[in-house]
């Protein structure tokens, strides 16, 4: 049975094709649709079993990464997104998609409350592209992510505004209560380890200075998940360079498709 998965495209989106490739390899049926098509109703969010917001620079990341597309989601698609969440349709945001979900207030949510989490300038103060190791946090409350809980993924980051920042300790504690979905591991951490060595804030294993090595988070329901690194760029064996071990990103997409099925 086909599992239709929506990949929205806004001006400046650019990792939609790789995201679609990953979904296909994972057994899903991707549809890339421009925001204008979603607005006009020629493509409907409701017709899809899951949503994957891909990477890129929506609207050039003017006024802060993802902010403009986040505004469009809030002003044009709030009801449809709420309905999708209500129906437990999984939603995954990668890189710019993660930034959009955070800026829209969907992560960690709920939308409409004052935001206490953001993604901002890397601590190094510049765009950076490098491979990192991350672990799917075993204690994450996301149901669909549970299928891959504890696994490590080796994949690249490519961003300038990927630092997870929180307004206060209460928010940090709230995230640690099951909302952390991915964490950066120290380089060379073994995928089989029961006790992974986290990056401990050290550059470059934690490439952007994110609080508590957080690479991705989920919302209270666990339906919506976002992360900065690009697991869709490591779904084929030959994509992985030599260097530290770490698994493919494909199981993550397989979990998404399985949950959407």
């Amino acid at each position: 049975m086909s599992v239709p998965i929506l990949i929205p495209h806004a001006s400046g989106t650019n990792r939609d094709l790789e995201a679609a490739q990953a979904i296909e390899l994972a057994g899903g049926t991707p549809t890339i649709a421009h925001i204008n098509e979603l607005r006009s109703g020629s493509v409907r969010i409701a017709d899809h079993a899951a949503i994957l917001l891909p990477g890129g620079f929506s609207y050039g990341d003017a006024l802060g990464a993802g902010g403009r597309l986040a505004l469009e989601l809030r002003t044009w698609f709030a009801d449809e997104l709420a309905a999708a969440a209500e129906a437990s349709r999984p939603m995954l945001g990668i890189c710019n998609g993660f930034q959009v979900l955070v800026k829209a207030g969907l992560l960690p949510g709920p939308m409409g409350e004052p935001r206490s989490v953001t993604l901002t300038e890397n601590a190094e103060g510049r765009f950076e592209c490098r491979w990192v190791t991350l672990q799917v946090e075993p204690s994450c409350r996301s149901g669909w992510l549970g299928a891959v809980g504890g696994t490590t993924i080796r994949c690249p980051i490519a961003h300038g505004e990927g630092r997870v920042a929180v307004s206060d300790d209460t928010t940090a504690a709230r995230l640690e209560d099951g909302l952390v979905a991915f964490r950066y591991l120290a380089d060379g951490a073994r995928p089989t380890s029961d006790d992974p060595v986290v990056a401990g804030g050290a550059y470059p294993a934690n490439p952007n200075g994110s609080v508590n090595d957080i690479a991705g988070i989920c919302d209270d329901t666990g339906t919506i998940v976002g992360l900065m690194p690009h697991p869709e760029d490591h779904v084929l064996d030959w994509q992985r360079p030599s260097g530290p071990e770490g698994g493919s990103g494909l199981p993550l997409f397989e979990a998404l498709v399985a949950a959407a099925r």
Binding site: G12, R68, T120, E121, E124, G125, C129, A158, V166
Partner: protein
């Protein structure tokens, strides 16, 4: 009413980067810097609406502080910087659109940056920081204190087309007119125009004169490369040869036509060269230069350089899939008192150029995968920025024939006064006053608009909506429409062109090089489908006019005539130049070489041209599109330089991959420009073969950056370099498929070293067999392919250790057999790592492999009749180091035959060891070996000459 909104993120790391860079420009008193984003919002928003705009869009509640309708209280000395009115300002545009999203009344926005400089600063310090770090007065305005908001384009002006009387002008008057209007036309060209309009019995309009200047500019028509040239060549023993050259461009084309391999799809005729990839797809490749704009405004110059070359690839109906960049700067540590007036410091140029390339490529979603960075005092006044782009298209999908009646459709960006005279400006030398005259030629790009063009053109191509396509680049519409309509003739109405702001005169609209535009020829029946497609992707469509069939260029602005000329005069009326060149080979110099030491090898590794460029490379996304097989840096720590990039185009079947490499050696060209061309071609092939590329299917691009070709010494070396290119194309059976010349790279009459970039495009038959410089295993044999040669002219060692060598390495006569042998071994899966010998010779090649793999190595440096120093550091062509498991020793020996020999092994140790032989005593006589701890080599490569404490880069 205009309201000011200040937004600050107190922990914004850009403040720290200003402090770090302040020390580099000699301001030590700056202790901290707070960066504020300033927005001037003009409109009739109520306080509630303003608050909503700020909350929903402008202010991040987690990290930002804001002052709404007021000014941030000063925390120190305050400097404010804004773009000149009318420059591309995406933040302002997106804020305007966000207000519309929210259903607020229409607003107009301009933005600025504010710096609160805290510390013990004199007036001079503040002025220095402003000039050197914070603002660029080519495109920005700045002041100490608060900068008032300035909105672009006041009132619409009356449309004016002025005649430019030529009939009475003397030769001096003609030349003055050419200079005053930045036409860059010489006397014979001005006279040809004078004669044409005398015969017509009327003066040209301003737009007609400008059209001719654009179309006849060096940049657009390559007049030097089409000129008849007489070359006087004096050999080092005084023998004089005079030769006649009937056009350099025809010579390059001729060798391509002669080779004519079956996989060649299109060479020289279009915006980019095209070769076959597989049964279904072709790949298109182009490399451009953007030197003069980058000298004046490094970020914007490099930014629009990438944008321009990507449009070249779109202009052959290809989807861009990768970028390359090769950069030449003055020394980053140039003392301030050696910096000429009117020149930005090389460090600032480098940082701006790198940021500009990263910004555009990253935002387009294109991996920037191959390049190099050279530092040389010859580039202080005139840096070089080569930008390349690769694209993919279904075979046979690129239409090239407009039809009578087709509409002339412009897609993409709006037209402003920015980017006037880029083509003619780049066809003249620079000096300290250049900024005052041609600041308008420099622009900032808007990659998101270009991204829309990529999406729309790919779909329009697949739906067969257009009959012809071209990039709108240098010369603007005057060049793109003028070229597209060369055979048929066109009629255009400029009054329909969307402008960024009112007030442009017709000639300005016609020649503006405003970025992010593509022109296509569309049959009227397909306009509706095109419009629907462009609406869906938010791309603006303008119907400029039609192809007429009367072979005339007719331009109107509403009812006002602007241009009316025969295409024949525009395209064939330019007089062919007659030029003279002279070249004298340098006298040979007897070189005394030192005893080789570990310290020398570390110095070579730490030289800025060899040391790691990871700082730069990591600012480019080299992973997007998920097709990168061999990355710019490889190995367990991802810090070993790769020889070439291997890419698997997304959406293609099987395991075939593309390989991109380059060769550049301007130091050789100082002594022998012909050899430079041959050695650069060898370097490009070497690099390509090292990662698994097939030497029998390589296409190359030439990019010549030279000084003023009207000076015989510059032209002489250029002709010699072209001779090297044609000789090399035959020797390597490698056709040139496209190229570019950028001449007049001079500052105050001082030319850059003539610099030829060879960019190579090839194929890896099976990406699973691709190798890099890091894959070797403990116990592997190390093999050297090729022989050493004593000539050190142009080598890094000669430069670094002041040897003064002038004789350069001998180019290879018959290079293909060795490269085929290496390729066969790699395809057979026998090679674990490969790396070419270039700058620093075997010493650097072996050390870089050890660094990349983080393994020890031990090699015996073969003498080949030389002294040990020369054997270790010479840069003879055709050499690679391969690592091979010992069980394959016999098989590899059989493959390589006389081309290769075993020189050592990969060890479990922590040292790089070079065993040296005594020339007096022969092969079994060991001198004291050079032993370099791997950690020292890594440190030299990572931190460069001044060690780990070198200043921060930002």
């Amino acid at each position: 009413m205009t309201v000011r909104i200040d937004v600050t993120a107190p922990d914004d790391p850009r403040g720290g980067s200003v402090v770090a860079n302040a020390r580099l420009v000699g301001v030590d008193g700056l202790t901290s810097c707070r960066v504020t984003r300033v927005h001037h919002v003009d409109g009739s928003l109520s306080p509630d609406e303003l608050d909503r705009l700020c909350r929903e869009v402008l202010i991040d509640p987690v990290v930002d502080e804001a002052v709404i309708d007021g000014v941030t209280p000063a925390q120190g000395r305050v400097v404010e910087v804004a773009l000149m009115p009318g420059a591309t300002d995406p933040d302002a545009r997106e804020l305007e659109r966000a207000a519309a999203n929210l259903g607020l009344p229409e607003i107009r926005v301009v933005t600025a940056r504010r710096y609160d400089l805290i510390g013990d600063l004199s007036d001079t310090d503040v002025a220095t920081l402003t000039r050197r770090l914070l603002a660029n007065d080519t495109i920005e305005i700045s002041t100490e204190g608060e900068l008032p908001a300035e909105f672009a384009g006041a009132a619409a002006a009356d449309v004016r087309v002025d005649d430019v009387p030529l009939a009475e002008l003397s030769d001096d008057d003609l030349l003055r007119l050419s200079k005053d209007r930045v036409l860059s036309l010489d006397l014979t060209e001005m006279q040809a125009i004078q004669a044409h309009f005398a015969a017509e019995g009327r003066p040209p309009s301003d737009a007609e004169l400008e059209t001719l200047a654009q179309t006849w500019s060096e940049h657009c028509v390559h007049k030097t490369f089409r000129a008849r040239i007489t070359l006087t060549h004096t050999s080092s023993d005084g023998e004089v040869t005079v030769s006649f050259h009937d056009g350099l461009l025809p010579a390059l084309r001729e060798v391509t036509e002669e080779l004519d391999p079956p996989w060649l799809r299109s060479a020289f005729v279009d915006d980019a060269g095209i070769v076959a990839f597989d049964d279904h797809h072709d790949v298109a490749f182009k490399v451009e230069t953007h030197n003069h704009p980058s000298a004046l405004e490094p970020f914007g110059g490099a930014n629009t350089g990438v944008g321009g070359v990507v449009r070249d690839v779109i202009g052959v109906s290809a989807r861009p899939i990768a970028c390359t960049d090769v950069l030449c700067f003055g020394p980053a540590d140039l003392p301030d008192d050696e910096l000429p007036t009117g020149v930005l410091h090389p460090r600032r140029i480098r940082d701006g150029v790198v940021a500009g390339i990263g910004d555009y490529g990253n935002k387009l979603g294109l991996p920037t995968v191959n390049g190099s960075v050279l530092y040389d005092p010859g580039y202080v006044g005139n840096p070089l920025v080569y930008c390349g782009a690769l694209g993919i298209l279904p075979h046979g999908s690129h239409p090239t024939e407009p039809q009578v009646g087709d509409r002339i459709i412009s897609l993409g960006g709006r037209v402003g006064r920015d980017g006037i005279h880029g083509a003619t400006f780049s066809s003249a030398g620079m000096d300290a006053s250049t900024v005052d005259h041609v600041g308008s030629a420099v622009q900032i790009g808007d990659p998101i608009t270009e991204k829309g063009l990529i999406e729309v053109i790919e779909r329009a191509r697949d739906a067969k909506l257009y009959n012809a396509i071209t990039d709108c680049g240098a010369g603007g519409f005057s060049s793109s429409v003028g070229e597209m309509g060369e055979d048929l003739g066109v009629e255009v109405d400029l009054s329909v062109v969307p402008l960024k702001y009112p007030g442009l005169q017709p000639w300005e609209i016609w020649i503006s090089e405003a970025q992010e535009r593509i022109v296509i020829a569309v049959p009227p029946a397909k306009l509706e489908a095109l419009q629907a497609l462009c609406d869906a992707w938010d791309v603006e469509v303008t119907d400029l006019g039609r192809f007429t069939g009367d072979q005339r260029l007719v331009v109107r602005h509403g009812d006002t005539g602007v241009v009316d000329m025969p295409m024949a005069f525009l395209h064939d009326g330019i007089p062919r130049q007659e030029l003279v060149g002279a070249w004298a080979d340098p006298a040979p110099v007897e070189v005394t070489t030192p005893v080789p030491t570990a310290a020398q090898v570390l110095q070579l590794l730490a030289h800025p041209n060899v040391a790691s460029k990871e700082d730069i490379i990591r600012r480019y996304d080299h992973e997007v599109r998920g097709g990168t097989v061999v990355r710019p840096y490889v190995g367990p720590e991802a810090d070993g330089p790769a020889d070439a990039a291997v890419l698997k185009p997304l959406g293609t079947e099987g395991h075939k991959a593309v390989v991109l490499s380059n060769g550049i050696c301007p130091s050789v060209g100082r002594h022998d420009p012909r050899a430079m061309a041959l050695l650069a071609m060898d370097e490009a092939v070497r690099n390509l073969v090292a990662v698994g590329g097939d030497p029998d299917q390589v296409a190359v691009l030439d990019n010549f950056c030279w000084g003023d070709p009207t000076k015989p010494d510059r032209l002489g070396s250029l002709v010699r370099a072209v001779q090297g290119c044609t000789d090399g194309a035959r020797a390597y059976r490698m056709p040139f498929i496209s190229g570019k010349d950028s001449l007049f790279n001079e500052f105050d009459g001082e030319a850059i070293p003539g610099t030829l970039l060879i960019s190579a495009l090839g194929l890896v038959p099976d990406l699973r067999r691709a190798v890099d410089s890091a894959g070797m295993q403990i116990g592997d044999d190390l093999w050297l392919v090729g022989a050493n040669e004593g000539a050190l002219g142009g080598s890094l060692a000669s430069d670094l250790f002041d040897l003064g060598a002038t004789r350069v390495p001998t180019p290879l006569d018959d290079p293909l057999p060795r490269y085929r042998a290496i390729h066969a071994v790699i395809c057979d899966g026998k090679v674990t790592a490969a790396h070419d010998c270039s700058e620093g010779g075997l010493a650097v090649a072996v050390s870089e492999m050890a660094i990349a793999a983080r393994l020890g190595v031990s090699v015996v440096v073969p003498l080949d009749g030389l002294d040990p120093f020369t054997a270790l550091v010479n840069e003879a062509p055709g050499r690679l180091v391969l690592s091979v498991a010992p069980e394959h020793r016999d098989a590899v020996g059989a493959f390589l035959g006389d081309h290769g020999r075993r020189i050592g092994e990969v060890t479990a140790g922590d040292d790089i060891v070079f065993h040296l032989l005594d020339p007096a005593r022969g092969e079994d006589s060991n001198l004291e070996p050079i032993r370099i701890p791997l950690a020292d080599a890594v440190s030299a490569s990572t931190h460069g000459p001044s060690g780990p404490t070198r200043g921060a880069t930002a």
